[in-house]
């Protein structure tokens, strides 16, 4: 009987503590997004991904073409090889709505943004 009562006491406490810890760390959460790019485009046209200021964004990328991705505003670029999945990880300390664009090999623009990354103030 003692063990059940102890479990009844300890389990909720553990759950609550875990929840507390999770909510405390949620301020600098990792946000995972999976992007499979075909012919320089996503299945959905220019979706908007919302994250919070201070988050770490993790993009799991795959493409059927060699591409260079460019996050405007932050001026970050990422080289993506055809058929080689890659992970692009970056922090977003400043708020705003930033287009992520595909540049082809001349480094030239000319595509609509792949997606918008909205970084909301905390």
């Amino acid at each position: 009987m003692g063990t059940t009562r102890a479990a009844a006491l300890i389990l909720p406490v553990t759950v609550m503590l875990t929840a507390l810890l999770l909510s405390a760390t949620a301020r600098t959460a990792e946000r995972h997004f999976e992007l499979s790019i075909h012919d320089g485009k996503l299945a959905e046209s220019a979706p908007t991904y919302r994250v919070s200021q201070g988050d770490e964004v993790v993009l799991e990328l795959s493409s059927d073409r060699n591409l260079e991705l460019h996050l405007h505003g932050y001026s970050l670029t990422f080289e993506l090889k055809a058929g080689v999945p890659a992970t692009w990880r970056f922090a977003v300390p400043s708020s705003g709505r930033f287009p992520l664009a595909v540049h082809d090999h001349g480094g030239r623009h000319g595509h609509a943004p792949l997606l918008y990354l909205e970084v909301h103030p905390g």
Binding site: S45, H72, P93, G96, A101, H111
Partner: protein, 480 residues
């Protein structure tokens, strides 16, 4: 059958144009977050509430206070020195735009010409003009160069024009429309070299007009930039009254009285309001959907294909129509509301009401302009720091700031939201107050004045709400 198959690939191209438009303002990408719903609602509620407070409580009959206080003029030598410095600065920057535009790097963000004209002059100086005072008459390089050339050539300075310019303000209306079209619809001024060419063409036109009609008449009537800066400057706290003396006044008080008289002048004010609004409107998702619809509408296919032969894509067609339509709608609604207002108030003609109330709407437009461009100015404006060291984009480093990049953290979006909502509410309050004061002056009784303001109030709430709504939409730009 043949024609249909021949047309199909062309249509696919057209449709692609709409969903993948050419890049616009690549050097000044905007990163604004849409205004959240609670800010939008709070702003809207404040606007409606304050409108009624002003309408019912604030105004006493025949309040003829001028809300301005004369400030002592600085000594003559001081004014002359400041004037000379500003004039020299204006000419220097004008020449810099031409030289950098023609000979510099043709990447817009790496040439000082594009940043100077589109960001610092058009948005930055415009806001400074509204918030502090109008220095454009001193900075104006066209007038300075013209007047100096004339005096070097030994001509006497011409006497002030005794009569109004031959076509009133209509040349300014036409030129301002063309300018707005170039900025908002055509993207022609994106390339530094094209921009320098436009500036040069405009200069030749301006100087030809000055030679034909006199510098005074050009400045007082046809010059679109002089006119728009003077409008924004009338909102500013520092300005010259009708007596020509420098005065400090409540923001917006300078817009009272001294009404636009001719229809062209009223049309110019409304065109300024319409272009400011269309600028934001053309970046909203509903606008984008409208362009998509236009691109796929079967009845418009032949027209769009025909335009495509002239290198005019769907987006440009849509923006041209949108700009024209916005201006016409603004004008039509304004005329209708003024007529209604005159009818309800009684004893006044519709055109009298139009003259009295045209300027009252300007504060809302100025507030929206500030809210819309605040973060853009603070972010894209930073390009001036590296470009001061490397104006031509050739890798110079004159002041050691050549490698500087844009620092996103200068302003938080939360601050932008607060400032945007507060600015729009203040702009609305000033507009409603101005219209009420004008009404009290225009109509014989207080009762008539208050009644006349009902349609005006509805229109102002609609205009302000539209501005707030645009800010609450995500900015859909043709990102590169």
């Amino acid at each position: 059958m043949r024609r249909v198959t021949a047309a199909t690939p062309a249509l696919a191209v057209l449709a692609a144009c709409a969903s993948q438009p050419a890049e616009a303002h690549a050097f000044g990408q905007r990163y604004d977050l849409p205004l959240p719903l609670d800010y939008f609602l709070a702003g809207g509620a404040a606007v409606v509430l304050l409108s009624f407070v002003i309408a019912v409580v604030v105004l006493r009959p025949a309040s003829e206070r001028s809300w301005r206080w004369a400030i002592p003029s600085p000594p003559r030598w001081f004014r002359a020195t400041i004037g000379t410095i500003l004039a020299a600065l204006g000419v220097f920057l004008f020449l810099l735009v031409l030289v950098a535009g023609y000979f510099g790097n043709q990447e817009p963000s790496e040439n000082i010409a594009t940043v100077l004209v589109w960001v610092l002059w058009w948005i930055g100086l415009m806001l400074l003009t509204a918030l502090i005072g109008n220095a454009w008459p001193r900075l104006d390089p066209w007038s300075t160069i013209w007047n100096h050339t004339r005096s070097w050539m030994g001509r006497t300075v011409e006497a002030p024009a005794e009569m109004s310019p031959p076509w009133g303000a209509w040349p300014a209306v036409v030129m301002y429309f063309v300018y707005a079209w170039l900025e908002l619809a055509s993207e022609f001024g994106e390339l530094p070299r094209d921009l320098a060419l436009l500036v040069l063409l405009y200069s030749m036109g301006a100087w030809a007009a000055m030679a034909l009609f006199g510098e005074n008449r050009w400045s007082a009537g046809a010059d679109p930039f002089g006119r728009v800066f003077s409008l924004f400057g009338r909102f500013a706290p520092f300005g010259r009254g009708t007596d020509g003396r420098l005065a400090l006044r409540l923001p917006g008080a300078g817009l009272l009285g001294n009404h636009p008289r001719a229809l062209g002048e009223i049309a110019f004010v409304l065109l300024v309001l319409a272009t400011v609004t269309f600028d934001g409107l053309s970046e909203t998702p509903p606008w984008n959907s409208a362009v998509e619809w236009l691109a796929h509408s079967p009845s418009l296919h032949p027209v769009l294909l025909w335009l495509g032969d002239f290198d005019i894509d769907v987006l440009m067609t849509a923006k041209t129509l949108g700009l024209l339509l916005t201006a016409l709608v603004f004008f039509a609604v304004f005329v209708a509301v003024c007529r209604l207002s005159a009818l309800i108030g009684g004893g006044v003609s519709g055109s009298q009401a139009m003259r009295a109330f045209a300027l009252s709407f300007l504060p809302i437009a100025i507030a929206y302009h500030a809210a819309h461009y605040l973060s853009y100015l603070l972010l894209a404006g930073q390009l001036a720091i590296p470009l001061a060291s490397d104006p031509f984009g050739w890798g110079w480093d004159l002041f050691g700031t050549g490698g500087r990049t844009i620092d996103l953290s200068v302003i938080s979006m939360k601050t932008v939201w607060y400032i945007a909502v507060v600015a729009i509410v203040i702009g609305h309050v000033v507009s409603v107050t101005l219209a009420h004061i004008e009404a009290l002056r225009l109509f014989p009784t207080r009762r008539a004045a208050l009644l006349s303001q009902l349609p005006m109030l509805v229109l102002m709430v609609a205009f302000t709400s539209t501005s707030l709504w645009i800010l609450s939409q995500p900015i859909v730009q043709e990102a590169g």
